[in-house]
């Protein structure tokens, strides 16, 4: 057991650090949740891709570097430590791409992954529906067979990035009246500017249009844009869901960088005798370090041929609660300045604490609420009996 990087990993980290130092914009890009900011972030993806930094863990043929899991973790640590922009392409890279690698056709991979890696096509996810949030299998939007493809009809909601994105992916009910709600679903991809698609942006808690509602009225999808077998969408999607909850969505680098910024804030403006705040800053540091090490242990397990199952639920609960505690502490530390919006004249330096706080509040809700994650932990990891059903 050790924590020493191999020579190759150390060289990879050094190269990433040097590139980021040379390229990360000196002033933050405008908010990702505005049209202008979206375009700026898309341009940043193009810049990353030009030097093969946008999808480091992918094979070189699709624009990646065949990075190992440890290299990917190192890249993420450097990325967040450098204060680099948020990833507008993350829905595609983290959710759709793993599914295409596992269940897509060679044609799909050849056609879709390249433009995803360069930011030419930005993807939105279209999982949830008004009546199907945590209970994803309850979805009602349909895909009806038609000549050469499918017609989508229904409503999707809380579709992140959809306000400005190009294409979306999601599950649709292609076989009505199946015995169990998970059956008869099909995984499809569709353009957001296709005839029949209406995109209505929805404001996040702070008013920024981080999601949209999608109204689908006989939207045609060719057979080529079905992933896996029709009717097998649930199984296909679950590999993606595993990714979302597991290693890839919230890389430890994000939290170690945030904890470092919080510590710097505390050293600069905190009252060193205020032990109540000191304890909370220390807990953020300890939590970020624990998450980083836990992830390294999991990565080691995967590198040794293991897999992650319900263990990813431990990650989800931990990082989401850490993220809130960390930002809540920062706001308390900032006192009257902590409640200012990030674009206010007197807003504090050292990162977007108010936006980060607002964003953190969503953590226990999306990608499977923490209530559901705790059920999974209790039933699958501890072996406790299932709840009584109504």
């Amino acid at each position: 057991m050790d924590l020493e990087a191999s020579d190759a990993d150390a060289a990879f980290r050094a190269e990433a650090r040097a590139w980021l130092a040379a390229h990360v914009p000196a002033t933050p890009l405008p908010s990702l949740e505005t049209r202008e900011g979206f375009a700026a972030h898309r341009a940043w993806e193009r810049q990353l891709a030009a030097d093969h930094w946008s999808v480091v863990s992918w094979p070189a043929e699709f624009g990646g570097r065949d990075a190992t899991l440890f290299q990917w973790l190192a890249f993420e640590e450097e990325y967040y430590a450098a204060g680099a922009p948020g990833r507008v392409s993350q829905n595609g890279i983290n959710l759709l791409a793993p599914t295409l690698f596992e269940h897509g056709t060679a044609e799909q991979r050849a056609r879709i992954l390249g433009p995803m890696a360069t930011g030419e096509v930005i993807w939105a996810q279209a999982w949830s529906e008004p009546e199907a949030g945590s209970d994803l299998a309850a979805l009602r939007s349909t895909a009806v067979r038609t000549d050469g493809g499918w017609l989508l009809r229904g409503q999707k909601t809380w579709s992140s990035r959809a306000a400005f994105a190009d294409r979306a992916f999601g599950l649709f009910r292609s076989e009505p009246g199946t015995a169990r709600p998970h059956q008869g679903l099909t995984y499809l991809m569709f353009p957001l500017d296709a005839p029949g698609v209406t995109v209505r942006p929805i404001g996040r808690l702070d008013g920024k249009p981080a999601f949209a509602e999608l109204f689908l009225d006989d939207v045609f999808v060719p057979d080529a844009d079905v992933i896996g077998e029709p009717g097998q969408g649930w199984r296909v999607a679950m590999s993606t869901a595993g990714n979302e909850r597991g290693l890839t969505l919230r890389s430890p680098g994000r939290f170690t960088a945030a904890a470092d910024r919080l510590t710097a804030l505390w050293r600069e403006s905190g009252d060193p005798t205020d032990t109540a705040l000191r304890d909370r800053v220390a807990d953020a540091v300890i939590g970020a370090r624990a998450y980083q090490l836990f992830t390294h242990a999991n990565a080691s397990r995967i590198a040794a041929g293991g897999t992650l199952g319900a263990e990813s639920s431990l990650n989800k609960v931990f990082w989401s609660e850490l993220d809130i505690a960390l930002h809540d502490t920062a706001l308390d530390l900032l006192g009257p300045y902590g409640m200012l919006a990030d674009d206010a004249d007197d807003a504090p330096a050292h990162g977007s604490w108010a936006e980060g706080y607002t964003f953190s509040l969503a953590g226990p809700i999306y990608a499977g609420t923490n209530e559901i994650q705790r059920n999974i932990i209790a039933e699958r990891l501890l072996g406790l009996p299932k709840e009584a059903r109504a």
Binding site: S128, E131, G133, S134, D135, A138, T157, W158, I202, G203, R204, L205, D206, G207, F211, D274, A276, L331, D332, G335, P336, Y337, G338, M339, L340, A341, D343, A344, D345, D346, A347, A354, Y357, T358, L361, A362, P364, I365, Y366, T369, N370, E371, R374, R389, A390
Partner: protein, 327 residues
């Protein structure tokens, strides 16, 4: 010693609740957040008609106060309905002017406050910002033993609560100086703290009620989500927090009304309990509404976003805890 609101006090609360429930305060809040104060000012006028502002003003200036307990009762309802604007500041400014002993200033402002015609900003207790200075007729700024008034301010800045916009007061002319200022400001800060606690209590009640209604009707996995034990226990804890904050608010109002030596500590205790209970209510409301709660479309989001700034306004929990032990 019946430690219960009188029938009259409860009637007053019910009247305000009914008035505000019919007044579409959410629309006024959204307008206020956009810098459009008209619907909010219209609400103030209607509140003045019920006598809310007069409770802070003595009879010789057209009021019927000062009545801290009745004010607290009223502010629970203002918080429940998320009424926008520097309500606390205006009422605390009235208390300040009443105690200052400057007959001119009192005569100038107190009748207008009682009538709901004056919106006053108040910047004291070391706060760097004034709330809603752009909506105020004047802003009083207390520093040390001096109070100034000003009608100019720096850029208006948004906060986590969009209807709570702050700015730095600029310039100003000295209104008074000396120990009377310090004493009047101390009382005004205590009153502001009490009424902020009362607002938080009402806001928390509204958040709990809205969330209970939601989890009773929202189904997932074939069950109302309110039947899940994790949901039930979390809401039970929210109720416990609010129920035990309420008597602290009432007792602090009594202490302030009686100028009791313990009033400062009593008010601080009420502020800690009500502020934390309200914040817990908002966090539960957000989590249990799920993604719905995280969007700005339901009115609920307006209530959720008020909780944290209100918890910290006029004394953070840490400052208030220190005050409790200072006795």
């Amino acid at each position: 010693m019946p430690f219960l609101l009188t029938e009259e006090q409860r009637d007053f609360a019910r009247t305000l609740d009914a008035l505000l429930g019919a007044a579409d305060t959410a629309t006024a809040v959204r307008a206020w957040a956009a810098g459009e104060h008209k619907p909010g000012r219209a609400l103030w006028t209607r509140l003045a008609e019920t006598g809310v502002f007069a409770l802070a003003v003595p009879e010789e200036h057209d009021g019927m106060g000062p009545l801290p307990l009745e004010l607290a009762v009223a502010f629970v309802e203002l918080g429940r309905h998320a009424v926008p604007g520097p309500l606390v500041e205006t009422v605390a400014a009235a208390a300040f002017l009443d105690r200052l002993g400057d007959a001119g200033a009192a005569t100038d402002w107190l009748p207008r406050i009682a009538a709901g015609d004056a919106v006053i900003g108040l910047c004291a207790d070391g706060a760097p910002f004034a709330l809603d200075a752009d909506a105020a007729d004047t802003v009083l700024v207390v520093g040390g033993d001096t109070v100034c008034r000003t009608e100019t301010h720096g850029p208006v800045q948004a906060t986590l609560d969009p209807a709570r916009r702050v700015s730095r007061p600029l310039g100003g002319t000295v209104l008074a100086r000396g120990p009377a200022v310090t004493a009047a400001a101390g009382h005004a800060v205590d009153l502001a703290r009490l009424l902020t606690a009362a607002q938080a209590l009402g806001l928390g009640r509204a958040l709990l009620t809205g969330t209970v209604d939601y989890v009773r009707q929202r189904t997932q996995f074939g069950r109302a989500i309110g039947s899940f034990q994790a949901v039930k226990h979390r809401l039970a804890d929210v109720l416990i927090g609010l129920e035990f904050a309420q008597p602290l608010v009432h007792a602090a109002a009594l202490a302030l009304a009686g100028d009791a030596p313990s009033a400062g500590a009593d008010v601080a205790a009420a502020k800690v309990a009500a502020g934390e209970a309200c914040y817990a209510a908002a966090r539960a409301a957000l989590q249990l509404h799920g993604a719905v709660g995280y969007t700005d479309e339901p009115d609920l989001s307006l209530w959720i976003r008020k909780a944290r700034p209100l918890r910290d306004a006029w004394g953070t929990p840490a400052a208030c805890r220190a005050r409790v032990l200072a006795g």
